[in-house]
Amino acid sequence: MAGGSTSGGSVKADTYAGVRHWLLAPSWLVLLTVVVGPLCIMLIYSFLTKEFRGGVVWEFNLAAYDKFFFDRGLFGDEAPRIEWTYISIYWRSILQAAIATLVSLLIGFPTAYFIATRPTTSRALWVFLITIPYWVNLLIRTVSMKFLLRDQGPLNAFLLSTGIIDQPLTIVNTDVAVQLGLFYSYLPFMVLPIYAAVEQYDHRLSEAAADLYASRWIALRRVILPAVKPGVIAGCILVFVPSLGSFLAPDLLGGARNFMIGSLIEDQFKGQAGDWPFGAAASMILLSMVLIVLIVAARRQARAKAAGGEV
């Protein structure tokens, strides 16, 4: 993952250069028709008009985006004011995703570092242990989390019996539950790229730092972190981006009161709202946000690479 290693580096193999277009054609065909094409159609739909009681009418306008950003009152005839509802849903989602990313980083970095510094023989086993939960169905993991956190669930029963609390904690249907769910869903995504980066880190650098009387923590901050930064960035993106548009964690753990982007969009298509153009517009806005994050990260990565190239 770290640093676009798949772009081939110095390998200039051209065994199949003569037939490369034929080799690429099937993927192009599938991905253009099933991914790129639909995204374009979705863009078009976001400019269409909602039909009374669901469906779309082929009349182009900006109504969906207008609904997203402006409030025109109950009857739609007042002077437009900024509509904070959806902006705040997006803002809250960004915040939730950011907190989940931060927590994942705080727990994931030491874990990844610890694993990467194990002897080679036990290393694979540790990685194996970290990845197993990831292979378990996300839905099942989220449901399990909900079961654990319920008011009458095992966690509360345990805390009550140990006397740490005397009233069950209400966690399900709160923001904390959503953050926990997101963190739990994507934690392995944080650990693995950092692990890969630390594994390639030359520990003689730490020794050099120690020889120069740097404490461990200073070495960590000044030497190790900059060196494994691409892995950290990759991990953060891999947690942040799916968290932003996630549906299961907010839906199952957050309850209906804690709408996030995913549930807002889902409601436009599968729920009662039935406003397709608005759902398409909301999706476009989410997609643009994600692309911005990715582009910024790619730029940074490229710059870091260029700067680090001299070392």
Partner: protein
């Protein structure tokens, strides 16, 4: 390794064949409310007719409409919309017509449910179950009077913040209208503003909007009161919740769910057979016993259990003020949508 891959490809091809063979069987595709029909009844139909019932579920009339509009039409044969939604679906051209003589048990429909406002003469639908919508309150938490809609909209302190509402726009707004004593689907601006103000104010007391988990959260004690359908409330009580279902004196909702034939039903003949099956008193009584509502079929009452007949949830006080949900015009509906969106923010 190569062998393995070959084997798995062969297995895939085999699965492919098996699945397509399974699809060739006779079937009827039913789009139904969740937890509403006993599995045994579907199995009975299959063993009698050889037709398999494939079922998908939804949790509100509005969700049914949205899904049908979103391209599901032409894939389902039957659906079970509530009264007002039958009218809406018919107006939208989403229903398939049938003639009374296509159903040999058509005459079993009780007279009072034959000529209904939402489907005069029963061109599109047959009665399924009917019941009421109000709310249930956990008596361990609150012992006071519960015969007013204010329990939902301006609740006593014990219940505030522990109330779940059904995730159903028209039902919630209809109850709000009843509470404010203004006509449903009003187009008076002040009245619409009043509804909006009411639900906005009441929102602080409501912890969630759930339909499908209503029973479980009442049983588990996660909420202390919930807007609920009478039969679902009865089931929650039977499952151990110490709750009481209310018949508010300022009004509650009466509804009837109906089996409709959808437009472009892929298995129309089988669908009609299934409708006929549901018009048999004994069969529809099995639904009543399971879901704890009443049916609109003559003679079904003799087949339901005594227990059901005596359920407090099914015995409204005499002079109870039940109202059907009305269908609003486009203009009012747009405002209703806006109120609902504001509420769900």
């Amino acid at each position: 390794m190569k062998q393995k891959i070959k084997k798995s490809v062969a297995a895939a091809a085999l699965v492919c064949v098996v699945t397509s063979a399974a699809k060739a069987e006779e079937q009827v595709v039913l789009y139904h409310w969740f937890e509403y029909i006993p599995q045994e009844l579907l199995e009975k139909f299959t063993s009698e007719s050889g037709i398999e019932v494939v079922m998908d579920t939804y949790d509100s009339n509005e969700a049914l409409l949205a899904s049908l509009k979103a391209g599901a039409i032409g894939t389902y044969d039957l659906a079970v919309p509530g009264d007002y939604m039958v009218e809406i679906l018919a107006n939208q051209g989403l229903l398939g017509e049938f003639k009374p003589d296509e159903l040999k048990n058509f005459e079993n429909i009780a007279d009072q449910w034959l000529n209904v406002d939402f489907d005069p003469g029963r061109q599109y639908s047959i009665p399924y179950q009917w019941g009421t919508t109000s709310f249930s309150v956990n008596r361990d938490v609150y012992q006071g009077e519960i015969d007013q809609l204010s329990v939902l909209f301006n609740p006593p302190e014990e219940l505030s913040g522990k109330i779940n509402m059904l995730d159903a726009q028209n039902d919630v707004l209809a109850l709000a209208s009843l509470y404010l004593n203004i006509p449903q689907c009003t187009n008076d601006r002040e009245q619409l503003k009043a509804i909006n103000g009411l639900v906005q104010e009441a929102k602080q007391h409501w912890v969630s909007f759930n339909s499908d988990t209503t029973k479980d959260i009442l049983v588990s004690g996660d909420v202390a009161a919930s807007m609920i359908w009478n039969g679902f409330g009865a089931r929650a009580r039977v499952e151990g919740a110490n709750i009481e279902y209310a018949f508010p004196t300022d009004g509650y909702i009466v509804w009837m769910d109906n089996v409709v034939l959808l437009k472009d039903a892929p298995n129309r003949e089988n669908a009609l057979k299934f409708m006929d099956f549901l018009l048999v008193p004994e069969n529809i009584a099995a639904v009543s016993d399971y879901a704890r509502y009443e049916s609109g079929i003559t003679g079904a009452k003799e087949h339901v259990s005594d227990e059901l007949r005596e359920m407090p949830e099914l015995n409204a006080p005499t002079g109870g003020k039940g109202h059907f949900v009305e269908v609003c015009d486009a203009e009012t509906q747009a405002v209703y949508d806006q109120i609902w969106t504001n509420l769900r923010k």
